[in-house]
Amino acid sequence: MAIEPRKPPSQLLPKLQRALGGRAGWSGFVLQLLFVAALAWISYEIVANARANLQAQRITAGFGFLANNAGFDVSQSLIPYSGSDPYTRVFVVGLLNTLLVSVIGIFFATIIGFLVALGRLSPNWLLSRISGGYVELIRNLPLLFQILFWYLAVLAALPNPRQSISIFNGIFLSNRGLVIPKPIGEAGFEPFVVALLAAIIAAIILWRYARRQLFQSGKVIKVWPYALAMIIGLPLISVLIFGVPVTFEVPVLRGFNFAGGSRLIPEFVALTLALSTYTAAFIAEIVRAGILSVHKGQMEAGSSLGLQRGSVLRLIVIPQALRVILPPLTNQYLNLTKNSSLAVAIGYPDLVSVFAGTTLSQTGQAIEIIGITMGVYLLISLVTSAIMSFYGWRISRSMGG
């Protein structure tokens, strides 16, 4: 006689109970429900109250104002902009300026941060003390103060345009910023770029081939002379055939300022300098902690294989340290982006300055504009941290961890 396997008792109800109410069961579920209801009620009250008060004061709500003409100019814009453009355009101009200063700030902060961390861990006494001093000085001074220092004490002390510091009569440094010759594309520009790209791709293929040979047969192929020859040679041939790729428009002092050329405005330079040096101090500590978290036996093992200190760091220590470094490093990237809103103090036209500042005060649409601005910062931060998570996931996968 076959024995019926005993049916397990239905788990559904207890499971649901646990999922909704945690350990406390149904009473916990009721509490959670009350909490959510209270939260919803408060949000509703805030929205309804704000709407009623806006109506009582006859403030027009909504986003229609975005289509109106801005009527003011902006000192730096990555896209063509004039005062007769609508507020949506101002928004994009401000957003791009925020992104520009953030991306460049993150780039330099990372480089400076890694260098200072390595300097601090260096056996060289002087180097490690200087790096340590840098970290302690920079991270303990308020950022706003440092921005003002670069802007008012360093850059404003440069001479006026008429007495500007000139390098080869083409590059001019003054209190109006750094003016450099502006490259203008000529007929030979496209072939030049194509030749350069082709050379770079060929060099990468060659390098990967050489690596495979090294791992498969232990044969060492010297790649760099061929790569260099290609990267210099191919574009050179294109120039000989198609003509020069660019000519330069040299800036000339005309009236009050320089005409022609490209210009880095001092507000941008001061903000980038302050943000990247400040964040670099924190990154340096994070990187140092990450490297120290790798067991020292790893370093010794690397040395005993005959690798040099730099190679040990690059091939063995840093890849392992990165797992510790990445999460706090992401925090620093986010901080830098958010701190860029201090731009308003020195007149750099970032999102907060031109949109949450000028546009708000011209239109009076405080709730809409602050809402949009908060949403944008949230989005930038979420995207940044998603990118960093993806990078972290790739690293841990490549290490089999």
Binding site: E45, I46, V47, A48, N49, A50, R51, A52, N53, L54, A56, Q57, R58, I59, T60, F65, G71, F72, D73, V74, S75, S82, G83, L152, A156, N160, N175, R176, R254, G255, F256, N257, A259, I265, P266, E267, V344, A345, I346, G347, P349, S353, V354, G357, T358, L360, S361, Q362, T363, G364, Q365, A366, I367, I370
Partner: protein
Amino acid sequence: MKRVSLVVTLALAGLTAQAASAQTLKTVKDRGMLSCGVSQGLPGFSSPDDKGNWTGLDVDICRAIAAAIFNDATKIKFVPLSAKDRFTALQSGEIDVLSRNTTWTLSRDTSLGANFTGVTYYDGQGFLVKKSLKVNSALELNSASVCVQTGTTTEQNLADYFKGNNMKYEVIAFATADETVKAYESGRCDVFTSDVSQLYAERLKLATPADHVVLPEVISKEPLGPMVRHGDDQWFDVVKWTLYAMVGAEELGMTQKNVDEIVKSDKPEVKRAVGTDGNLGEQLGLTKDWMVRIVKAVGNYGESFERNVGSGSKLGIARGLNQLWSKGGIQYAPPIR
């Protein structure tokens, strides 16, 4: 209401604005204190002196309102605001009245949810430059860098003026007047532009005022006046008629010195003004002697003008358009009757 940061105020706009949106006069009386939004320090209009007392033409408007309500011109809390933050502070109910060199424009009168109550000072926009640049006219400013305070009508007039005259320029906009002037002084800009009265006031703060000159062009109309929130007509009337009381007092010849004498006058228009005849003040929700209180506290409009920005001050600005209508200016009070 406690002084909270603007962002918090904004987040709670719904909750905080409620109490202040109607019956402002009653709220102010109950609180025993007028909350007055002023500049962060503009000599002649609103700035704290070395003892921390606020003085200036804009400050006198608030003092006059407080005097009319409480018979005490010191029952005021001054809230210094940047140009950028001023309207938000008014909308959120943080201040009862904004008396902060603010230009009256149509869009500000409508979409901001606030009303201008009158014109305390007829101004216009001008340019301040270094004498060493040897510029004699604003039309010679092609390619110049211009420093401006953000969130002002100045910023828009500037764009219009340079565009209209086919000139190029670079604008650098700062959040506060101090930052703007500092950038101008450090040489970041060739030109500082603002209302002419403000140019004279800020020039006094420069290291060597004599090295700087205000160009002759006045490129805009800038009628400056106090603002109140929409939706409270009684409070609107109180603030509006406080200014007219000061102008009216000058028309009637009432001054801080002779006010005790003039109360005994038997001229009908004076009797109406000082409250010995009729109840005009009570119709406003104030007292019969409201004008006497105002004139005792700050004097008439002319006295306040001369003391703060005119011949009795460091600014030394001529009355010009701000003279009474009967003496060649355009300051004019509707009949107080």
